[in-house]
Symmetry: C2
Subunit: 342 residues, 2 copies
Amino acid sequence: MPVGTLGAIKGLDIGRVRETGAEMVLSNTYHLALRPGASVVAELGGLHRFMGWDGPILTDSGGFQIFSLAQQTKISEQGAIFRSHIDGSRLEWTPERAIEIQEQLGSDVAMVLDHVVALPNDPQTIRDAMDRSVRWAERCRQAAKRADQALFAIIQGGLDADLRIECAERLTAMDFAGYAVGGLSVGETPEEMYRTLHVTVPALPADRPRYLMGVGRPEDLLEAVARGIDMFDCVMPTRNGRNALAFTDEGPRRLRNLRYERDPRPLDENCPCPACQHSRAYLRHLFIAREMLGPVLLSAHNLTYYQRLLAEARRAIMEDRFVEFHRAKRRKWQAGDPGEKG
Amino acid sequence: MPVGTLGAIKGLDIGRVRETGAEMVLSNTYHLALRPGASVVAELGGLHRFMGWDGPILTDSGGFQIFSLAQQTKISEQGAIFRSHIDGSRLEWTPERAIEIQEQLGSDVAMVLDHVVALPNDPQTIRDAMDRSVRWAERCRQAAKRADQALFAIIQGGLDADLRIECAERLTAMDFAGYAVGGLSVGETPEEMYRTLHVTVPALPADRPRYLMGVGRPEDLLEAVARGIDMFDCVMPTRNGRNALAFTDEGPRRLRNLRYERDPRPLDENCPCPACQHSRAYLRHLFIAREMLGPVLLSAHNLTYYQRLLAEARRAIMEDRFVEFHRAKRRKWQAGDPGEKG
């Protein structure tokens, strides 16, 4: 899912988002609640009409933003009290409120409010946050009223296999429409993340969507798919695109590099995105000259790259050759383009 | 012509530019000569391939940028010596060099180098700049070698009717492929500009394109069309679009205005642009939240508005009802939307 934090995938009109191959998008409840406000979105007919997106939308619950963005945050059993990162105003966020706002937004998939903590962290903090996340998930389930909105639970528990499995079992027992693995990509190494997925995903029902939140690099996606993950969201394709980094089968390319100054080739001659209608030299020029079109084009390219990668992975799974597919991709990424590293 | 200063219409991929209805685009020789350099563009197959635009391209000569952007400029009969506005490096610009660079870029229409001065100004300065512009135009004509590139002359002469007519007659005698009116929109009032067009355009051959450089607001365009102008370029649709100002038949709308916070209507329900797929409230939200998509969408809208306006004007001329068309548009613009002014 491309990330439309504030109801917009940064720099791309909704037609261009569709053309990346995206079938579902994510938007951030916390951000929309601050600007323009959930009641404004509701009054305008809900988030689909607001964004002009007729496909499914998933909204997160604000748990991650309270962890990463909010100021002077105090977490209690009741919920979180914090100050807005925009204007410093005092806000209260509870499981019930997180659901209410997501129901106002009218997303297709809502997420329970969870308590996210940084990694590494002490075991008691991680256990407490996991226990609280489970209790909050139950409160969210009780609060949810919209029959047309699916509710996904979020597994917490840090890097502790026992905690993750316990959390998965307790949430699975509550029977949610889907299950997310949260609290990763918050300071741990990729290997620690993969190990955690390795023990967590098998504890989730295989007939429900399994969603890895906020991850990651192309290699992370395939490692997670290999461990049973079905859904992803990440700002990396758009954020890195804005910073002149293009994802390709030869690994990432940093387009400000002088070696692209006169390079007439497209980033990827098989890519149908609007960036790949141009030479690398043109894309480099746009970034060097600080033209807004550089971030626009590279965001489109990177989103297209991610969608094509996962479409290929899906096909490989259907045709029972995912292991070979994964190995071949990894080999190409690792070989990279020698010049890029020089 | 939408303005693609550095080989890109700011924020719009070339497919979106085409969808505004634009048939021809402008790019700035001075800017491209500094970044990425004319030889880079030439090596990459010329400006059409560089930008990915298969329609006609007009390049200006740098005369206006030397007047408006360059630092420590010294104008002599030979040419201009100045410092780059990017890195302060010393540059020399002559009529021959302006043609050479435009030939490297490979635009369809090249412009002669002219000497632009601010208005108001003393009569002798204006006369000298006009005389020099005529001599430089002749040197450009001598220098031009590409048979596939048309060369347009530029009429100077400030607000002095006699000077303008003299300039037009001297340049017309040299037989250029088209004629531009330059040195306007540089400090004079709209009425002074219209009066100058009124005396200048009739002195130009009616069987050649007549081009008003760097103008302007929608009302300026129709006033100029009424006086015989055929072609325009202006940054106003894109620059104002980036600043949340939308052009409409009810006059300009400033989309940051609180009155649009919950306005579910599109800017213009007949407009086919991607901005008009959304509510005014959404567009306002994008600007308030500083989302890049706001500038992107409003640039597309404003360019579409300008293209539709001139397409309507063309139709009205063909059907011999331009005066009525012009009167009706002016009345709507002047009436505006009462709320917008409040």
